[in-house]
Each structure stands twice: as structure tokens, then as C-alpha cells.
């Protein structure tokens, strides 16, 4: 379907407007507010899907705020949406919609829910803005909106010390990270007098200052994406936030990962094949750095997850390892840019973004369901719940097998792409990846045992299955996981491959804005 150009700002504007309307609607009725938020986000998701079908068939779409023509001085902000952006937007919309629907029953007993929903909508606007924007400063602004909203949501349960602590840690880390992003943006602006990604990309020289800007951008955004050893805030905040927020945070984290991709592949796309030092070209240089961090992330993530006893912290460490897999695929793809296996690795990394978001999201929802039913988060005190909560158990099994990458679920499809390409870069990478995938299985089997199996504990005798709305959300995500698992080729050809093309073919992104391209 052919969507008009103004759909793009609309996708960001609808949640933003909804955010400011929520407190007003909340005055009328609590139920009405819940319905309102769900409708706003469902509408938004629908728009994203329509936009996706359009962009995947016709190509990049842009929308200009301000000056339409290129006469000096250019005062304008640009939204530029390509297949990669829309890929991330689809993931964010699904997760946020799931979180909001799940919140209906899950957060029912909390007060201050108008603020809660307002913040979720703001966070959504921030995330979608991050992935849609074509302007570096605008990216920083959306990054900050996302951070502030996430921080407030992490610390939503202010009556618990840990939540507040996690919120404080998160805001310190993200404020520092975001300020370094701004510093890098200023460095680029100072040299080229441009803020637009496409314009910058067409003129970038890879000077000394550009190198510094690149390092600042990659490290700051990688920290916000949760790469070891800058991951420590991630288990803290994922673990202490309400479960619904944890899954929104997953997609916020992935939006930062998108930032890394955009910076490396598009902003510096022109400079990637220039020679850096020691006769090594830039893409190999950065690629190996990312691969090294990714391998450390995978190892540290799984080994730390193995000794956790808090359910949500455990999943969070699992998520760190999964982020490592994405960066492994992407880093290998960057290092071997232009080769066939490099392309497979890049596909695997991008495909894994989607799979990880769904798998980890489902596990967080299961953790939320258990917390809802038992008010207990420590795995040491749980047990025997498979008798009382049959459906939740079934969804957990799907999540467990998917996150550990067991066939025939979606995790396997993306991991096999990563294994069977990275080994050509270096065999050790694939070995570590396979091994840690099995460790991840062990980690979640431990959860399976301690939460769901064992004798019927007397204190959990009367535990009931969670309400239907929560089961429905988990069921839908589980169905998507199984579908992607059974038809991975369909998803790869239709969504992942265009996204990877969009990253590698940065000149198309540039030529949409700068006449003539490169």
C-alpha cells in the first residue's frame, strides 16, 4: 500500500500526543485510560506495519520539517526511514503493545498509573524517534527522551530501595553516555557544518577529529546497548523494574544498538574502506573491536546468569549474552564486509535482534506472571508451579528453547546463521558461540527446575493461573516465536535481507537527501 509521507512523523507524534492526553483521560475513568493507551499503541503499530509494507516494496521514505529546499542556511530536521529503521520500529511496536496490554492486569493494584502510562507512551515516542530520525542532534534528543522516561519507569516502585538505586544508576550511565554522544555530534558539526546523517556521510573525511567522534559514538551507544564490561547497569535496571517495563527496556536497548549500526554503517559508511593504521582498513579495525567486546559479552553474560538466584536478574544476564550474539554477527559482518560469509553474519546479527527481543520479552513476561501469582522473585524460594500454572509453564518452555537456540524455534535460525559464518572469520568465535548457547540452555533449565518443578510446596498450594489477558499476550508472543521458527526463510527474505541491504547500501540512504549521492 502506498502511504503518504506524513505517516512518518505521525508514527512518532501519535504516542507523544497520547502521552499528554493520558492524564486527562485518566481523570475520567481508569478503565477508559487503559483502553485509550492500548488503542493509541495499536493504531501506531498498525501504522508502522502499513509503513513497513510500503517501505519494503518502494524503498526509503523521507519527511522534512522546515526548509524544503537546500538553500543556505538550512534550518530543518529530517526523518528518513529505510528498511533497517522500520525493522526496529516493528520490534518496538510489538513489544510496547505487548507490555501495555499485559499491564492491564499486572499493574492493576498500583497507584499512579496515569504517570506510568504517560511515561510508556513517551518512551515509545522516544524509541521510534531514535530509529526514524535522519539528524544527529535529533537522535540525541530522542535518546535523552528515552533515557529519562526509562529511568522514571525503572524507579516506578519507589517504595523499594533497589528500584530507586537501579534508576539512579541507569540515569547516571545514560546521561554520561548521551553527553558523549552530544560531544561527538558537536565535533562533527564543527567540522562539516551539518547535522544531517546523510549530508555528513557524503562529506566525511575520516580526519583525526572524526576518529574521536566515531569512538565516542560507538562506545557511548554500545554502553547504552549493554555490552560487557559496560553492562552492569543492565541487570540492575532490568531486574528491578516491573516486568512490563523490562520488556520495553529491551526494545529501548535495541534502539541504542540501532544507533551503533547507523553510525558505523551509514554515517561512516564512506570511510569504512579507507585505510586506517598498520595497513588495516577501518571496517576491519572497528569490526574486530566489536567482535572482541561481543565475545566477552557472551561469555560474561552466560557465566554470570548461571549463578543468579533472582529470576529477572538472571534473564537480564541472559539478555546481555544475547546482545553479545547480535554484536558478534554484526561485528563479523563488518569485518568481512563485502564477502559472502560476512553478509550471512550480518543477516544473522540483524535477524537475532528480532529473535532476542521476542524471546527475552516472553521470558520477562513469564517472570512477571510468576511474580504476579506468588509475589516472589527469588528462585530459591519458588517451586512446583507447573501444577498450578500449566499455560505459563508451556510458554516458559517455548521461551527457554527459543532463547537457548534449540531447533525448531527462532533462536536457532539466527544462531545457525551466526555460527556458520563467523567460523570463517576465526573458528574460535563460532566455538565460543556454540558453547555459550548451550550454557544458556543450562541457565534456563535451572530456572525451569527451581520455579516450575519439584514437589508441591504447601505455601503455593492455592496459587492460581494468571488472568486471561496476561496469558493472551504471552500466547501471542509465543505464537510469533514458533512462526518465525518454522518459517525463518520467509522472515529473512522479506524483512531481514532488506534491512541488511539498507545498512550495506548506505549510498542509497545518502542519495535520498544529497543530490547525486556519492
Amino acid at each position: 500500500m502506498n502511504m503518504p509521507d506524513y505517516t512518518i512523523p505521525l508514527v512518532v507524534a501519535i504516542p507523544l500526543l497520547g502521552a499528554f492526553l493520558t492524564p486527562l483521560v485518566s481523570r475520567i475513568n481508569d478503565k477508559l485510560r487503559n483502553v485509550f493507551v492500548i488503542i493509541v499503541l495499536a493504531l501506531n503499530a498498525l501504522l508502522v506495519f502499513l509503513l513497513a509494507s510500503d517501505i519494503l516494496t518502494t524503498g526509503i521514505k523521507t519527511y522534512v520539517f522546515g526548509a524544503k529546499d537546500l538553500t543556505y542556511p538550512i534550518v530543518r530536521i529530517l526523518f528518513e526511514v529505510d528498511a533497517m529503521s522500520i525493522f526496529m520500529a516493528i520490534i518496538s511496536s510489538i513489544l510496547v503493545l505487548a507490555a501495555v496490554t499485559y499491564s492491564w492486569a499486572f499493574m492493576k493494584e498500583n497507584t499512579g498509573l496515569d504517570k506510568y502510562y504517560t511515561l510508556i507512551l513517551l518512551l515509545t515516542a522516544g524509541m521510534l524517534g531514535m530509529v526514524f530520525t535522519g539528524d544527529m542532534f535529533n537522535f540525541f534528543v530522542f535518546l535523552e527522551i528515552t533515557s529519562i522516561a526509562s529511568c522514571a519507569l525503572i524507579a516506578f516502585w519507589t517504595d523499594v530501595g533497589e528500584s530507586v538505586e537501579a534508576g539512579f544508576k541507569y540515569i547516571v550511565i545514560s546521561a554520561t553516555g548521551a553527553l558523549f554522544v552530544l560531544f561527538a555530534v558537536a565535533l562533527l558539526y564543527g567540522q562539516y557544518n551539518a547535522l544531517n546523517i546523510a549530508q555528513l556521510s557524503s562529506v566525511i573525511q575520516y580526519t583525526f577529529l572524526d576518529k574521536i567522534a566515531l569512538v565516542l559514538l560507538i562506545v557511548a551507544l554500545a554502553m547504552k546497548a549493554g555490552i560487557v564490561p559496560m553492562h552492569m547497569w543492565l541487570p540492575d535496571s532490568y531486574g528491578s523494574a516491573p516486568s512490563t517495563i523490562s520488556i520495553v527496556l529491551v526494545s529501548a536497548t535495541l534502539a541504542s544498538l540501532y544507533g551503533v549500526l547507523r553510525v558505523v554503517f551509514t554515517l561512516y559508511g564512506n570511510a569504512l574502506s579507507t585505510i586506517a593504521n598498520f595497513d588495516i582498513s577501518v571496517n576491519v579495525f572497528i569490526g574486530w573491536f566489536i567482535v572482541a567486546l561481543a565475545v566477552i559479552s557472551i561469555i560474561v553474560g552466560v557465566t554470570m546468569a548461571l549463578i543468579q538466584s533472582d529470576f529477572k536478574r538472571l534473564i537480564a544476564y541472559g539478555a546481555v549474552a544475547e546482545i553479545g550474539y547480535m554484536f558478534l554477527g554484526i561485528g563479523a559482518g563488518l569485518t568481512a564486509l563485502g564477502t559472502a560469509y560476512g553478509r550471512t553474519a550480518l543477516n544473522g546479527g540483524i535477524f537475532h535482534i528480532m529473535n532476542d527481543a521476542l524471546d527475552v520479552g516472553l521470558l520477562f513476561l513469564v517472570a512477571g506472571a510468576i511474580y504476579y501469582a506468588t509475589r516472589e522473585r527469588s528462585l530459591d524460594r519458588l517451586g512446583g508451579l507447573a501444577r498450578n500454572m500449566k499455560y505459563t509453564t508451556a510458554f516458559f518452555i517455548i521461551g527457554l528453547l527459543a532463547v537457548a537456540g534449540m531447533p525448531p524455534l527462532n533462536g536457532f535460525a539466527s544462531k545457525i546463521l551466526i555460527y556458520e559464518s563467523t567460523f570463517q572469520l576465526n573458528p574460535i568465535l563460532a566455538i565460543v558461540a556454540i558453547l555459550c548457547s548451550i550454557l544458556l540452555l543450562a541457565v534456563f533449565v535451572k530456572v525451569f527446575h527451581s520455579a516450575f518443578m519439584g514437589p508441591q510446596l504447601p505455601k503455593y498450594k492455592d496459587v492460581k493461573e494468571v488472568p486471561r489477558s496476561m496469558l493472551f499476550v504471552m500466547g501471542v508472543i509465543a505464537c510469533i516465536i514458533v512462526f518465525i521458527g518454522l518459517f525463518p526463510e520467509f522472515v529473512i527474505n522479506n524483512v531481514v535481507e532488506p534491512a541488511a541491504n539498507a545498512l550495506v547500501g548506505y549510498s542509497e540512504y545518502v542519495s535520498q537527501v544529497v543530490a547525486g549521492g556519492i
Binding site: 536457532f412 545457525i416 556458520e420 566455538i431 556454540i434 548451550i438 543450562a442 527446575h449
Partner: protein, 347 residues
């Protein structure tokens, strides 16, 4: 036309699965009987008759199938089935004798590596779900063993694939490629030979752990935790696990044969067999069964009789430190094989 082809493929899968299921179960039990007989002779006993495993299964089928009160019935009953089904599904990807695999383009070595996890996972989850402390201790030991031996196993598979990539092959993880290019033919120098020999040795040591046989049988350990993860299983559920073990033995031995000894008798000009004739197929299958038998003899029977059980932390240590280092040495040898030869100007 497409529908016809699709339905033909589906029929092929269905019939093939039935075929390999029967093959796997029959020969698995047979090899189990032979294994018991030989180990009895080595210990100076007479031992049971070779068809004893068949009788065991038959007996288990008429025994009561008890579900203990601490167990979770649906998981407890489901996992033995899934474990056996997954083990049988591995066989459709493996070449048997001179026949090519039933589904040669449906899956590769990485898939087999993952499918091999399923039976162990079934044991682990079955053990956990039975709710007995003995079973739980056994299950966690099985899980630790699994992680432990997966490290050297991954190194072996990746090294083989890497070597084949260097030789310029495509689809290096596909079993048809591996069978088509036997690794011993790809060696450029002695270093490579040593490397592959080390990997073969490691794979032989990994096998008993994969099959939870002595000395890596800490998960079952009859003498200390009373059968471990199987302690609560009885009747037909136990029979399922018994069959899984039997089929898995054939699978593991077949994998070693495929990776390291994929040669066939029918190609020997000495025998003068027409390729494609029934005689050639028969010769290949008999030769294949013989190879599987030899592998089982070395990696299961001999090791089992000769060595005592290790503690669980010793198992993890053995696999992660000495064996992993050794297999990494093998990998490095293979990686340097051609390189060193070039440097020395020998190639």
C-alpha cells in the same frame, strides 16, 4: 508438479523416518547386547545372551508405569517420548552405509550437534520433574556433563568445517560434503595428521560422556545416587529411556564413522563390485555396521571396563581444561598445517 514433488518429499520423509526408527532401535539393542557380552568376557564373566536387551525392553513393557506424587505428570510422561523421537530424527540426516542420507539437504552438522542435546535435555528435565532429590542431583550432574563435553565437541566440528572451507568446499557443514571429502585426504603435512588424530581421540573420549557411560556416568551413578535421574522412572517410560540410550549409541558411533572413516567397501576395485548393485549396497552396509561396532568397542566397552567413575567436578575439569586445551592444540595444528609446510617449502 510442485505439489507432486512436495508430496513425494513428504512421503520420503515419513517412510524414511519409520525406516530409520526400526533400524536404530533394532541395531541399538543388538549393539547393547554385544557390548554387555564383551565386557562380561573381559571381566571373566559369562554375561547375558546377546538378545538380553530385547528381553529387558519386553519386560519393562509389562511392568507398572509409576508416576510418583512429587512428579509433574504431564512433563514426566512427555519427555521420554520427545527424547527418543529427537534421537531417531538425527538418523534421517546421517548416511547409513553407502546410502546417502534420507534428507541430505534438510540439515547439517550444527543441527545434529543441537539435536544431540535433546536426549540429554529430556533426561535432565525428566529427572527434575520427578521430584526426587536423587533424580535432581543426577539431572544437574547430567547438565554439567553436557556443558562440559560440548566444548571439545564444538571444537572438533568447527575445526573440520574450517579445514574444508580452506580446501575451497561449499556447504562445509553438510554431511554429503564431509563424506565426499574424507578428512584424511585433505592433509598437507604431518602436523595436520597429528591434529586430526588428536581430534579423533577427543571425540572417542567425548562419546562415553554423551552416552553417560563409565567413567562419565556420574548422573546415573547407581552406587551413590541410586540410578540418579532415572530413579523414579519405571515401566514403559523407563523402556523409552532405555531405547533412547540404545539409539543414541548407534547415532554417536555413526557420527564418528561419518566424520573420520567415511570410506566405503564398494569403491575398492579389489572386490570388483559394480557400483549401484545390490551386492555393493549390502557390502557397504555390512562394512558400515562393522565400523560402528568397532567404534562402540573402543569408545564404550573398553573405556567402560578399564576406568572407574569420576566425580562431577572432575568431569567438568577434565573436559574443560585438559581435553579442551588438547583439542585447541589439534585445531591449531590443523590451522598451521598448510602454512608451516609452505614456510618450510615442503608443500
Amino acid at each position: 508438479m510442485a505439489i507432486l514433488e512436495t508430496s513425494e518429499t513428504v512421503l520420503r520423509i515419513i517412510l524414511g523416518t519409520v525406516g530409520v526408527a526400526i533400524f536404530g532401535i533394532l541395531f541399538g539393542l543388538l549393539y547393547k547386547g554385544i557390548d554387555r557380552k564383551i565386557s562380561a568376557h573381559m571381566q571373566g564373566r559369562i554375561g547375558p545372551p546377546i538378545i538380553q536387551p530385547f528381553r529387558d525392553v519386553k519386560k519393562l513393557f509389562v511392568k507398572e508405569n509409576i508416576v510418583p506424587e512429587n512428579a509433574i505428570p504431564w512433563i514426566f510422561n512427555l519427555v521420554p517420548l520427545l527424547g527418543l523421537a529427537a534421537t531417531i530424527s538425527i538418523l534421517i540426516y546421517l548416511p547409513i552405509g553407502g546410502l546417502s542420507p534420507i534428507m541430505s539437504w534438510g540439515g547439517d552438522l550444527i543441527l545434529i550437534l543441537y539435536l544431540l542435546i535433546f536426549p540429554s535435555l529430556a533426561l535432565v528435565i525428566g529427572g527434575f520433574s520427578s521430584g526426587s532429590p536423587y533424580a535432581i542431583v543426577g539431572a544437574q550432574r547430567e547438565m554439567a556433563t553436557m556443558i562440559a563435553y560440548e566444548f571439545p565437541l564444538a571444537i572438533i566440528i568447527i575445526s573440520l568445517a574450517w579445514k574444508l572451507t580452506q580446501m575451497g568446499s561449499e556447504n562445509v557443514f553438510a554431511l554429503s560434503t564431509i563424506v565426499g571429502n574424507p578428512i584424511w585426504n585433505n592433509i598437507t603435512g604431518p602436523l595436520g595428521f597429528i591434529g586430526f588424530a588428536i581430534l579423533l581421540l577427543i571425540l572417542v573420549i567425548v562419546t562415553p560422556a554423551e552416552l553417560s557411560k563409565i567413567p562419565f556416568d556420574a548422573p546415573e551413578a547407581e552406587t551413590e545416587i541410586a540410578g540418579g535421574l532415572l530413579v523414579e522412572y519405571s515401566g514403559r517410560n523407563l523402556a523409552m529411556f532405555y531405547l533412547t540410550d540404545a539409539v543414541k549409541t548407534v547415532v554417536m558411533a555413526s557420527i564418528i564413522v561419518v566424520l573420520f572413516f567415511p570410506y566405503n567397501l564398494s569403491n575398492l576395485p579389489l572386490l570388483g563390485l559394480e557400483s549401484g548393485s545390490y551386492l555393493a549396497y549390502a557390502a557397504d552396509i555390512i562394512f558400515y555396521l562393522l565400523k560402528v561396532f568397532l567404534v562402540i568397542l573402543f569408545s564404550v566397552t573398553l573405556i567402560r571396563v578399564a576406568i572407574a567413575r569420576l566425580k562431577i567436578d572432575q568431569i567438568v575439569y577434565t573436559y574443560w581444561i585438559p581435553l579442551t586445551l588438547l583439542s585447541l592444540v589439534g585445531l591449531i595444528f590443523i590451522m598451521w598445517d598448510g602454512f608451516i609446510m609452505n614456510v618450510l617449502g615442503l608443500a
